[in-house]
């Protein structure tokens, strides 16, 4: 066996040079013994020289370099040999690292995970103490990491506490930030660090009061904040007393009889009576109808939806357009035709010379009907019952607005207005009559244009749609 001595614990470059040299002469993992500094070499036995196959051009994937940089920070003395075994294995099987259940790969991943956790815990559990110095305040922390992670963990503190001067002292290494540069030095002993800070009393008060004694879960706490960290956490001295008193405090809360409401509460209650939820009288104005529709329960569609999307536009509009139902965007925004179909309608209205501000826009159904599919809500066509339930609101809108012409956008709207199933193709582009004799104009819904698969059909149908809108607007003008 050959002994390789690395000058210090986290010497990635040293390990890499030695490993490369060993590979080049084909030394197998079992022929090497790795130690750091003047560490004891142990028993080096003379074995039979294994057959050596020199590796001419050693190759490693990028992931191995990252893995090495992490694993080497581990305190385990076996890490150098482990990494060399992996390096050796990689020459025969370049994809070795993807085999997560390979014992060496698994062990290295476990080591790397421990390092990442250790760094994370250092970021979490370092507690700075403020010390006044002639040149201003400096923040000093004492910390005892499990592994050799000070250099790896320190840049985080630099990025976070850039505007402070700080030092983190540990038994292995120390990190210093003066506001401009990050330096490292030898480890020191604990007595170099300050022992108190003016805010620790406040921090302890916060810790004690954010704790809920009625839900004691000590194992859950110690899993994430193991006891070995407690000695450097100023709040940890409270843990014992808090646990001890918890049961009694929780019981006292349960046992305590409810007290009478304070006088202040009674005054508040008189000042702000809870408003009645639904007003059952028939609406007298369009605005009243809109306010009432907010609490509509005429069909079950309200429950999964966000809100009632009532019609919008001037109550004096001479043209009213009726779509099917609000979509995803409309449901969130609370206004009709603001999503993709609304954008399409806006474009077509502009092209047809119809000012949107002079049109009352609404839908046959006032709640968004959808089916949840993963992260999306897929539009579902409302059924006859839902359309019928919502006709109350549509008729209310028609009664208040009294448009000269109503435009049905798509089959659901036409069905709602006519009370029967309608084939758009047969009835579009001309005036027909509503059951009450008023004028109706039928065309497609703008979302139909969005769904057409090919560009040519899209352009053709869009032009027809614009023509329909222009025709409706022109007809209204003749009245």
């Amino acid at each position: 066996m050959r002994l390789i001595r690395l000058p210090h614990e986290t010497d990635v470059a040293g390990w890499r040079d030695a490993a490369r040299a060993a590979l080049l002469v084909g030394e197998p993992p079992e022929a090497l013994y790795w130690v750091v500094g003047d560490g004891a070499a142990g028993d080096l036995f003379e074995g039979d020289e294994a057959a050596r196959t020199p590796i001419v051009a050693p190759k490693v994937p990028r992931a191995f370099i990252t893995l090495t940089e992490t694993v080497i920070l581990h305190r385990d003395p076996g890490r150098f040999a482990l990494l060399y075994r992996l390096l050796w294995g990689l020459q025969a099987q370049p994809q070795l690292l993807e085999d997560a259940s390979h014992p060496d790969v698994h062990e290295a991943e476990q080591r790397a995970k421990a390092i990442r956790r250790d760094i994370h815990k250092m970021h979490a559990f370092v507690r700075f103490r403020e010390v006044e110095e002639p040149e201003g305040a400096i923040f000093i922390a004492w910390f005892e990491p499990d592994n050799f992670i000070v250099e790896a963990a320190a840049p985080f503190f630099m990025r976070r506490f850039t505007g402070m001067r700080w030092s983190i002292l540990t038994p292995d290494r120390c990190a210093f930030w003066d506001g401009n540069s990050l330096r490292f030095g030898e480890g020191v002993s604990r007595d170099q660090a300050p022992t108190e800070d003016r805010l620790e009393a406040l921090w302890r008060i916060y810790y004690a009061n954010i704790f809920n004694p009625a839900r004691l879960k000590v194992a859950a706490m110690t899993r994430e904040m193991p006891r070995r960290y407690w000695k450097n956490l100023p709040e940890a001295e409270l843990i014992g007393p808090l646990i001890e008193a918890a049961g009694e405090r929780a019981q006292a809360m349960v046992a305590a009889a409810p007290t009478a409401p304070s006088a202040h509460a009674a005054a508040e209650a008189r000042r702000r009576p809870v408003a009645p939820i639904v007003d059952a009288d028939p609406p007298q104005t369009l605005a009243e109808a809109k306010a009432q529709a907010v609490g509509c329960r005429r069909c079950p569609l309200w429950e999964p939806a966000t809100q009632t999307v009532f019609g919008e536009g001037p109550a004096s509009a001479r043209l009213m357009m009726v779509g099917e139902q609000p979509g995803d965007r409309e449901d969130l925004a609370g206004a009709p035709f603001v999503g993709p179909a609304g954008k399409m309608l806006d474009r077509a209205l502009a092209e047809a010379g119809v000012p949107r501000t002079e049109v009352y826009l609404t839908n046959a159904v006032k709640h968004f009907k959808f089916e949840p599919r993963g992260k999306f809500r897929l539009h579902k066509t409302p059924d006859t019952g839902e359309i019928a339930a919502c006709r109350f609101w549509l008729e209310t809108e028609l009664a208040f607005v009294k448009p000269q012409l109503t435009v049905a956008l798509g089959a659901s709207a036409a069905q709602a207005l006519l009370g029967r199933k309608v084939t758009i193709g047969r009835e579009r582009g001309r005036v027909t009559a509503l059951p009450n004799g008023e004028a109706l104009w039928v065309t497609v819904h703008p979302s139909y244009l969005l769904r057409l698969p090919d560009e040519e059909a899209k352009a053709r149908e869009y032009a027809r749609f614009v023509e329909d809108l222009r025709g409706a607007w022109a007809w209204r003008a003749t009245k």
Binding site: Q93, E98, D99, A100, S101, H106, H120, H123, A124, R127, F128, F157, M158, R159, R160, F161, T162, G163, M164, G179, L202, I205, Y206, Y207, N209, I210, N212, A214, R215, L216, K217, V218, A219, A220, M221, E224, M225, I243, A250, M253, V254, A256, P258, T259, P261, S262, A265, E268, A269, R272, V274, I277, G295, T306, Q307, R329, L332, A333, P372, R377
Partner: protein
């Protein structure tokens, strides 16, 4: 007049019933250019844990615990006789900066009782966050509780400086809210959540176009109280699924209704149902990361309630033995994710590893923690569960003996 120390005791105590503590998901930033303090690097950090097992990541306090509302489950309701206190904007700013400099916290989670008016209260919260961001160039995490009735302009100001906004739905059923929190309006809560989702998405789109587009909070979350009313688990999960789908929430928190000092006569106090809360979180995970629908989780539940004895995935698997055993060397990812004892990470590693070797039981056990639970449900190169899957006492065989849970 109380000292800051006394106020902190009162206003931290008043804030502890809000389960949210996340400090993750913010856009990455640091203080290298500003030479101030603060950073967010994606992953949140829990700086301490309290003996209730909850992480302490943020300074979680109320600006004031005076409140006009009379929500019966809440310690701060107007009719409660708890001591009241109010912080000034500057006191909260100083506390946040002081705690942050000492590395106690990731940032601030500020909430408040409703005083004077929703707009007034919301503006006070926004002023704290604006002072931290603008005057102190603080780049740490800020979570603001949002008041649904507040002016949308205030909401926009809040979103411009906060990393997360939240509105608690508290009780998933409308009739419970009407009974226990009469001033809360579920319509307005949902409308406000819809508005926040739109703003988050618009800002994200705009920032794709230009880095200088105004920023807006990167997420919103909510909380539901468990056990204060009679809503069953499936109704709660259905409500959560709806909220995730409608408003793209980062998280739904479930908070076991806990005894509070000076309780209302309307709500009987008892030990908080902690195991029930735990099962709901597990089911929530199944919906978000394991491709389970509420209807599927329901098949493992009894009378609308999740099984307290076994986790919801195992409960589902025991009811669907016809889907097992699955071959670890062949089954697709979605199928492996349904094996009790397998997590998303272990499944990912198995998929990667099996391209290079035929997985044996030993290999699988290296990659997952719950091999004992998984064994009756899987086939490996050297393992066949045989008739184990059909055993009547399978549940007893695989149910964990004393889970890591108090």
């Amino acid at each position: 007049m109380e000292t800051v120390l006394e106020k902190l005791a009162i206003l931290a105590d008043a804030a502890k019933y809000d389960a949210s503590c996340a400090s993750s998901g913010a856009e990455k930033r640091n203080s290298m250019a500003s030479k101030a303090i603060g950073s967010t690097e994606g992953m949140g950090i829990c700086h301490a844990y309290a003996p209730d097992g909850r992480c302490i990541s943020l300074l979680k306090i109320l600006l004031t615990n005076y409140c006009q509302f009379d929500c019966h489950y809440c310690v701060n309701r107007v009719s409660s006789n708890v001591r009241r206190a109010r912080f000034s904007v500057k006191e909260v700013v100083d506390l946040t900066l002081g705690f942050y400099q000492r590395n106690y916290i990731e940032g601030l989670f500020l909430s408040s009782g409703i005083i004077r008016s929703p707009d007034y209260t919301m503006e006070q919260l926004v002023r704290v966050a604006e002072s931290l961001r603008r005057e102190h160039k603080f780049a740490g995490y800020i979570h603001l509780k949002t008041i649904p009735d507040a002016d949308p302009l205030l909401l926009a100001r809040a979103g411009a400086v906060a990393d997360r906004l939240s509105i608690n739905v508290e009780l998933p059923r409308e009739e419970s809210l009407a009974r226990l929190a009469p001033q809360k309006n579920p319509e307005r809560i949902r409308r406000a959540m819809g508005g926040i989702r739109l703003k988050i998405e618009e800002a994200k789109e705009a920032r794709k176009e230009s880095r200088h587009a105004p920023r807006f909070s990167t997420g919103q979350s909510t909380q539901m109280i468990i056990g204060a009313d009679s809503t069953d688990d499936l109704a709660i999960l259905g409500s959560a699924a709806n909220l995730y789908g409608n408003y793209k929430l980062s998280r739904v928190y479930y908070s076991a209704f806990s005894p509070i000092p000076d309780a209302s006569a309307v709500l009987p106090l008892m030990r908080p149902p902690l195991m029930r809360e735990h099962r709901l979180y597990q089911a929530d995970w199944l919906m978000r990361f394991y491709g389970f629908a509420v209807e599927e989780i329901a098949t493992g539940a009894v009378g609308g309630m999740l099984d307290l004895g076994v986790d919801p995935k195992l409960a589902w698997a025991l009811q669907h033995r016809e889907c097992f055993p699955v071959d670890v060397n062949r089954a697709a990812r979605e199928v492996l994710l349904r094996v009790p004892g397998f997590g998303t990470k272990s499944v990912k590693q198995m998929l990667s590893s099996r391209r290079w070797r035929s997985l044996r039981l030993e290999d699988v056990s290296r990659l997952c923690r719950g091999i004992k639970t998984a064994m009756p449900f899987i086939v490996t190169a050297d393992w066949q569960p045989g008739a184990a899957i059909d055993r009547l006492d399978l549940r007893e065989k695989v149910a964990p003996q004393g889970e890591l849970f108090a």
